[in-house]
Symmetry: C2
Subunit: 159 residues, 2 copies
DNA sequence: AATGAAATGAGAGCGCG
DNA sequence: CGCGCTCTCATTTCATT
């Protein structure tokens, strides 16, 4: 189940710290402190607090997919036949389980799911569509958009 | 301009290290070393090498948008009128410049751009559409998909 | 109650064999 | 590549406002 998520109030110091950590979480606390006019321990306490509260969900290295032999990014809009809770949950679980599926969102509008997929070759993508879409009786239709340019990539939140 | 990107060969050790860093880049090198059967300095050298080569594009904190007052994630498919290089570049620049635009991809298929947008309220999104889409003569059409559930989120590359 | 200054300890960074 | 050292930085303690 989901971890505890205490509601937490963030002041302008916290937001300033987040702004820096979103760009580079290896920034020394001392440097952050200088930037926001706070001592290093104060910065440390705030970071820890935000990590425990789930404001900072993760600290991770961003890998360039092209550099590790996965140069193709694809968006897929998926429309399902039946939208019962059970079938939707099943679809969520199945899509999420695939490592090639980088992001999966359940959405309103003309589609039900939007997936972001990263693969090495189009043949891999084709194989994936067989498994994920043609192999799923509840998938009515899907539309594929192949990325020609990753113009802006990130999970940065506007602050 | 883009930084130098020397081609680099990655062995199974490098991939194993990346796999760990993608989940948590604060993992001590010693711990990584134990996991992949390598000494800490060896791990360090490999990480440094991959950072310099651009394999590791960034190290950053992932912020939960809902926790910082930006609970709404929206996908937008944008179709443009003219696809001349100049107009496409202009659109890329304009979309990228908006802080609410978290991701922007130039794609093939029935749309030209796919944007991932993070905002606090639907009113904010409406204001953004006015600026970005209605205020751009080259935007023919756009379709909005509001995320109801962020089923799987991340920039993790399959390794 | 949260901060800043100083002391402690862990981990990163480098040269060595 | 692994072992050792050094040094920076993260972390804790404590006095202060």
């Amino acid at each position: 189940m989901a971890k505890t998520r205490p509601e937490i109030a963030l002041d302008s110091f916290d937001l300033a710290i987040l702004k820096i950590l979103q760009k580079d979480n290896a920034t020394p606390q001392r440097t952050i402190g200088e930037a926001v006019n706070l001592s290093a321990p104060a910065v440390q306490r705030r970071i820890k607090r935000m990590e425990e509260a789930g404001v900072i969900a993760a600290n991770c290295a961003i890998v360039d997919p092209a550099r590790v032999g996965q140069p193709i990014t694809i968006f897929v809009e998926v429309e399902v036949i039946s939208e019962t809770a059970e079938l939707i949950d099943a679809a969520k679980a199945e899509f999420s389980a695939a490592p090639e599926v980088q992001q999966c969102y359940y959405v309103t509008g003309e589609a039900d799911f939007i997936l972001v997929i990263v693969v090495a070759t189009m043949a891999d993508y084709e194989a994936l569509t067989r498994r994920l879409f043609f192999g799923n009786n509840n998938v009515k239709r899907f539309r594929t958009f192949v990325a020609m340019d990753r113009v802006k990539v990130g999970l940065t939140v506007p602050l």
